[in-house]
């Protein structure tokens, strides 16, 4: 498994949100990145984090208790691949998440499995493995808080966080 080292400091300066995510805080999960260098959040700038998050799409969703990539997910990931192959100064951390309908340990393993599926896909399409880190949050970081499928479907996700940091 790879990890951010030198990149952490740089990533904190340039993209606070992504760094918060890596530390397990919830503040930046939507990837809005307000208050940081505008070139990173300007959704009209194709090389920005904001463009990646909103136009390319930073997340893919999964079916209940599954880690199979849906056609929609593959389409999103193909966009991520193209972007990452063009913007080689960015590295990624892929967060795997589960909904609340599972036990804690199982959901940690399921989140890891989901993050791993996304990593494997990106790598299979040419993104260097050493640019990708993964982390599972299990059911610890829900985005949507209601206890019905409408919320659960948003929480069963893998989020690709990009930052201008180095992984080693």
């Amino acid at each position: 498994m790879t990890c951010i080292k030198i990149g952490m400091t740089l990533a904190c300066v340039l993209a606070l949100t992504a760094c918060d995510d890596f530390r397990g805080n919830n503040s930046g999960l939507n990837g809005n990145g307000s208050g940081v260098d505008p070139s990173l959040t300007d959704v009209n700038n194709p090389t920005s984090v904001g463009y990646f998050n909103q136009t390319i799409g930073d997340r893919v969703l999964f079916q209940v208790d599954q880690s199979i990539l849906t056609p929609t997910a593959i389409s999103t990931l193909d966009g991520q691949v193209s972007w990452l192959l063009e913007n080689t100064n960015f590295t990624t951390t892929i967060e795997g998440h589960a909904d609340e309908q599972g036990t804690r340990e199982y959901n940690l393993a399921l989140g890891a499995r989901r993050a791993n599926v996304v990593r494997d896909y990106l790598v299979s399409k040419g993104v260097a493995a050493n640019r990708i880190d993964i982390v599972t949050y299990g059911k610890e970081r829900p985005l949507a808080v209601c206890s019905i499928e409408e919320c659960w479907s948003k929480n069963r996700r893998a989020v690709t966080l990009v930052a201008t940091g180095l992984l080693d």
């Binding site: 498994m1 990890c3 951010i4 890596f22 530390r23 397990g24 919830n26 880690s67 609340e100 309908q101 599972g102 036990t103 804690r104 340990e105 199982y106 940690l108 393993a109 399921l110 890891a112 499995r113 791993n116 599926v117 494997d120 982390v135 599972t136 949050y137 299990g138 610890e140 970081r141 829900p142 985005l143 949507a144 808080v145 209601c146 206890s147």
Partner: protein, 440 residues
């Protein structure tokens, strides 16, 4: 005769009492079976303060003892307003007819003495009222700061004598204290007495912490923390709070549990798409892979003799419970009921496995024999999860999370017969309880 029960903390002295037995109708004993409907009526009389300093402690001690015994569901304390007799001298003979008249099966009397250096002596006696027999006479001495533990020790003695079972009141629980909204929950590692008293926080809330487990002597805790950015199992000394990551490599590790001898920790290690079970030698750091399938293998728990491990796996397609040798190898599936099964925990008696069952969108805490037979679901709700056994294997604590946007977890306990469900009080939301063994 002096028995050193708590190292130097509590000294217990057995003392006799003049035999008064007139009629003997067999030993006073409450049989814990499937169908206890009537708790045994007992009279726990107000402990006497033998000097002025002891007054504040005497009634609190009595309250804790009553709460322990009544809280087990096996005993009912008779309200003092019904008393005919009274206890004004700890050493005076007991007038049994007064206690028979109110149908007290057992009578507990006690006295507290506080010395100038804050040492406290607690004496108590347990009587079989109808047998007119003094069953126990004991005294404990310790710092007055330990008055709650002394109360639990008294209740433990009574519980053990009247049930024939090992006791469980003098024990602690490690858990996760939770605060804040559901989408920004702050979690801290905490420990408390089994009844929720004396809570103490062992970590801040900067990093997510999960699922603590006590070492066999309750001096150390293993838990999962995101302190390094990914979930990793940490080993913490409860007294010094010093801690370290168990795996020297930067792997995602979780779901740890100590071996019965405290030398090894068994846990899950994330390995690509799969999670495998490893055992870690705490002293040498050496790790041994115990499972190797494409599946999620997690939530391992040792049998009390250390020979086997129960764990959950989705190797058969869904989350189910398996048993394997402590050295790994082939595993036998034991859960065959409806739905998914996870978080198996081997009972300290060795005869049962507690688990979480998920079926039709509801979560249950249940127990089964170690071969999977005699399954019984004890609870059910939107989310009941994470059972942990009392030191004597009679009670299970778990957490129950309510649903919806303001949903939050609380700790509950339930008897293994499925009776006496009750909430365990915590200052914050609480989850992931882990019961210690009986304290030494």
């Amino acid at each position: 005769m002096i028995i050193n029960i708590l190292h130097l903390l509590i000294l217990a002295v057995l003392f006799g009492f003049p035999a008064q037995s007139q009629e003997n109708s067999g030993p006073l004993r409450i049989e814990i079976t499937e169908g206890i409907i009537e708790p045994m009526p007992i009279a726990v009389t107000q402990f006497l303060a033998e000097n002025a300093g002891a007054e504040a402690f005497a009634s609190q001690l009595t309250d804790v003892i009553i709460r322990d015994l009544a809280g087990s569901g096996l005993f009912r304390n008779i309200d003092p307003s019904a008393y005919i007799g009274s206890i004004s001298n700890f050493n005076a003979p007991v007038s049994f007819p007064d206690w028979k008249a109110i149908n007290a099966q057992a009578l507990i009397t006690g006295a507290v003495n506080l010395t100038s250096d804050n040492q406290m002596v607690v004496k108590f006696r347990l009587f079989d009222v109808f047998g007119q027999e003094n069953l126990i006479g004991l005294q404990f001495a310790a710092s007055s700061q330990s008055w709650r533990r002394m109360s639990h020790k008294v209740a433990d003695q009574v519980y053990a004598r009247l049930t024939g079972e090992d006791p469980y009141f003098d024990s602690r629980v490690a858990y996760i204290a939770e605060e804040g909204p559901k989408n920004n929950r702050k979690k801290r590692l905490a420990v408390m007495d089994y009844d929720g008293a004396n809570p103490r926080y062992l970590t801040g809330s900067e990093d997510i912490v999960l699922a603590p487990r006590f070492s066999p002597n309750a001096r150390e805790i293993i838990y999962t923390s995101y302190e390094t950015g990914v979930p990793q199992v940490f080993l913490m000394n409860v007294d010094t709070l010093s801690r370290r990551v168990l795996d020297s490599e930067r792997n995602m590790t979780f779901a740890p549990r100590f071996s019965p001898d405290g030398r090894n920790v068994v846990m899950s290690l994330s390995n690509g798409a799969k999670s495998d079970i490893y055992s870690f030698d705490i002293a040498t750091g050496q790790k041994l892979q115990l499972t190797d399938t494409a599946a999620i293998d997690t939530a391992p728990s040792y049998a009390p003799d250390g020979s086997q491990i129960v764990f959950e796996s989705d190797r058969g397609g869904g989350q189910q419970i398996y048993v394997m040798s402590a050295n790994g190898g082939s595993a036998q599936r034991i859960s065959f009921g409806k739905g998914r099964y996870g978080t198996p925990v081997w009972s300290p008696r060795g005869d049962m496995i507690a688990f979480t069952n998920i079926n039709n969108g509801r979560f249950h805490i249940g127990v089964m024999r170690t071969d999977g037979s005699d399954e019984k679901l004890l609870t059910g709700s939107f989310l009941d999860e994470g059972p942990t056994w009392s030191p004597n294997g009679r009670v299970i604590m778990f957490f129950r999370e309510t649903q919806g946007s303001v949903g939050a977890p609380s700790l509950f306990s339930v008897d293994i017969t499925g009776q006496f469900l009750k909430m365990v009080p915590t200052l914050t939301f609480g989850s992931d309880p882990a019961w210690s063994g009986l304290l030494e």
